[in-house]
Every structure is written in structure tokens, then in C-alpha cells.
Subunit: 212 residues, 2 copies
């Protein structure tokens, strides 16, 4: 089965909630590192083709991985552009966020090997961090808010079978300073290395924190 | 293979960080509901025997599940009592926290069916929410702080093979008010029902929150 990964990406003005901790330039570099980690996980899986949908006109990075990679530049909102893209997809797609750098090739494989029409891997706080659609043209995505519940609802309304895929590493999206703890504890890729290089480290008092 | 579940439990003074949101009585009732959810998940798995290690002298609740259940009362610290208990265990044990009410029987089965000597299911912020020990008498647990890294280190030092078990639902321990979001979104058991009964609901503005 041929599956295409679709990865929405925002570089400019990315990750503002990390603003107290990382400069704007660092946040942009860090966002690229996270994207690369996700691409490495995808390229180590059975997926052979990935399309980045980027709000950014110049996306320069190098990746030593075997992956057919295309970049589509589109400044529109996430739902608008994704729904236009998946409407025209005849083959299964995996929509996977660019800020889940702990995602593994194993979990991506398990996810796309499920039999159901729709596979939802939740993020914290009701998010959807990976969404596998066997028949993308029958689905409408709805990110923002409690997207997890909206995607479950959409699957039901369209009479599509669905399952929740249970992965901690996919659930960890890096939005806030405390989220960096997960990356420092568990990360082995570009983004964890980036944090180490700029001096981010763990501080353990009563509970874990990150410091610089 | 016979596996025993060990579940540390604290009722009195439990979950103080939920104090701004739940009264002391509610926190105690809620802690019992979470324990029951964990016990239901365990009893639906291949594990046939569970031992609760409770700091509380009176632990009264009913459970309509087929599970050989014993309660040991012990007021000592978590590490002290657990290390004494596992030193005498000849059969494999699964140490599983009482505040992970989203844990599923499927994930527990997958966890205890791994081949490795040690299986670690992380919690957020470097925690260890489930820990499978094939030869418990060879291991020392060390909770608090970044216990995940300490348990990895312990496995290496003792020359025990280990693997990280990747589960979102096991990773969700309920410590803070924002953690309740996960339970309201994903929960189907006693503790989610309890929250609904006392009027806890989701509020979605820019991001998800819980309100009453």
C-alpha cells in the first residue's frame, strides 16, 4: 500500500510560546530541526513520499534520507489548505505534525498498517498529532480546539471505521517551555541536539524543569 | 507467564495540586476512582493478581472484576517499600501507578509480553508510569525526579535488557488541573464519570481548559 505523508510546517513566527526561552532566530532553527526529526522518522518507515506544506517561501535544509520530498508553499490556514489537498488524494495519506520530534518510524509503521479507514494519534489537550486517512477524499480535517473529538465525530458521521493509536512519543508536541523536558529526556535527534548545543539542560528540583 | 501487578496508592492528602479545583473529599474520592480504572484495566489484561500498597489504613471500595486482589498497608516512602517488596518477588511484576486512569488492558498486555528484562512506560516530565520487571529481585526502583532516566541507568548497570514502551494513555498521570483535560476528552471509566458528575467540563477558547 502506498501512503503519502503530508506535513504542515510554519517557520516564520513559529512557536511563539517558547519566546520566553528561545530567541526568534532560535525558534526558527529549532522548528527546522523538529521538522527534520519528523522527516527522519517518516523516511525510516514504509512511507516513501512526503509533502511539506509550508507557509514559508524559502525552506532550506539538507536531509540525508531516502525520501521523495516535495514542498508546497501555501499561506492559507491549516484546515483550508489540508482539506483542499486531501480532496484530490486518491491514495492513503498520513497527516503528521512537524512539531512531534520524538515520533518513531516504528509507530508510523504501526499506524499506517492498521486496517481502519481512519487512525487518530492524539496529542495532549485534545489535539490530533497524526491522522491516517485511507480514503482522504471522504474526510474533512478540523484542526484547532479539541480536534481529536472533531475527527472522531467526522469519522462517525461519514460511516468510516476508526481507531485511536496510542503513542506517547507522537503525543508530545513541543509548544511550551515545559514540553522541552520531554525532548531533553527522550530525544536523540536533531532537535534534542540543537537544545543541547544552545545550552538547554534539565534541572531537577521537586519536579523536572529546563534551564539555560 | 505469571505476572503480578503492584499498585502504590495514596488516598489521604492525595493530589494536592488539584486543590484549587477539587475539595479534599473530592480529591480522595477521585483518587479511588482512578485506582478503580487502573484495576479494571489490569483485570482485563492477562494479569490475574494485583497487590495494592496503600498508605491508607481503610481502603473501602467495590470492584466487579475477576482479579485476585490484596492490599498491603505501609506508610513508608514509595522507593523504600517497593524495593523491599520486589526484592522478595520471584515472578515478574508490573509496577503501575494508581493515577493513570486511561491505561488500557491492551497496552498492559503488550507491555508484559515484551521479551526484555525491563520494560519502561514513561510518564510526562521524566516519570515512570509503568515498569515491568521480569526479574524484580535484580532491580532497584527509584521514583521521584527523572525516574525514567534512573530506571534506564539501573537496567544498564545491572546488565538487564530493556525497552521503552510507547503509550500515550499510560503516560497521562493526573497531577495538575490541566491533566483533567485528557480525562474529560478520552476517559470512559469511573474517574471520567466522577468528573462529569461533579460538573467538570471542557471549555475551549484558544486552547482547551477544564471548568466547573
Amino acid at each position: 500500500m502506498k501512503v503519502k505523508a503530508i506535513i504542515p510546517f510554519k517557520k516564520e513566527g513559529a512557536k511563539t510560546r517558547l519566546g520566553a526561552f528561545l530567541t526568534e532566530k532560535e525558534r526558527e532553527e529549532f522548528a527546522i530541526c523538529m521538522l527534520k526529526d519528523v522527516l527522519v522518522a517518516v523516511s525510516g518507515s514504509e512511507i516513501e513520499e512526503a509533502r511539506i506544506i509550508s507557509t514559508c517561501s524559502k525552506l532550506n535544509f539538507e536531509l540525508d534520507e531516502e525520501l521523495k520530498l516535495t514542498v508546497r508553499e501555501d499561506e492559507r490556514g491549516l484546515n483550508e489548505v489540508l482539506n483542499e489537498v486531501i480532496r484530490e488524494e486518491k491514495e492513503p495519506v498520513l497527516i503528521i505534525m512537524a512539531d512531534i520530534p520524538l515520533a518513531t518510524s516504528e509507530s508510523i509503521n504501526e499506524l499506517v498498517r492498521r486496517e481502519e479507514d481512519v487512525v487518530i494519534a492524539p496529542g495532549r489537550k485534545g489535539g490530533t498529532n497524526a491522522l491516517f486517512l485511507r480514503r482522504p477524499y471522504e474526510f474533512f480535517v478540523s484542526y484547532y480546539g479539541i480536534s481529536y473529538l472533531k475527527h472522531v465525530e467526522m469519522a462517525k458521521r461519514r460511516n468510516l471505521s476508526y481507531v485511536v493509536y496510542d503513542s506517547f512519543f507522537i503525543s508530545v508536541d513541543i509548544d511550551e517551555v515545559d514540553d522541552l523536558i520531554e525532548l531533553v529526556v527522550h530525544g536523540k535527534g536533531f532537535s534534542a541536539e540543537y537544545l543541547r548545543a544552545i545550552g538547554v539542560c534539565l534541572r531537577v528540583d521537586k519536579e523536572a524543569k529546563v534551564g539555560r
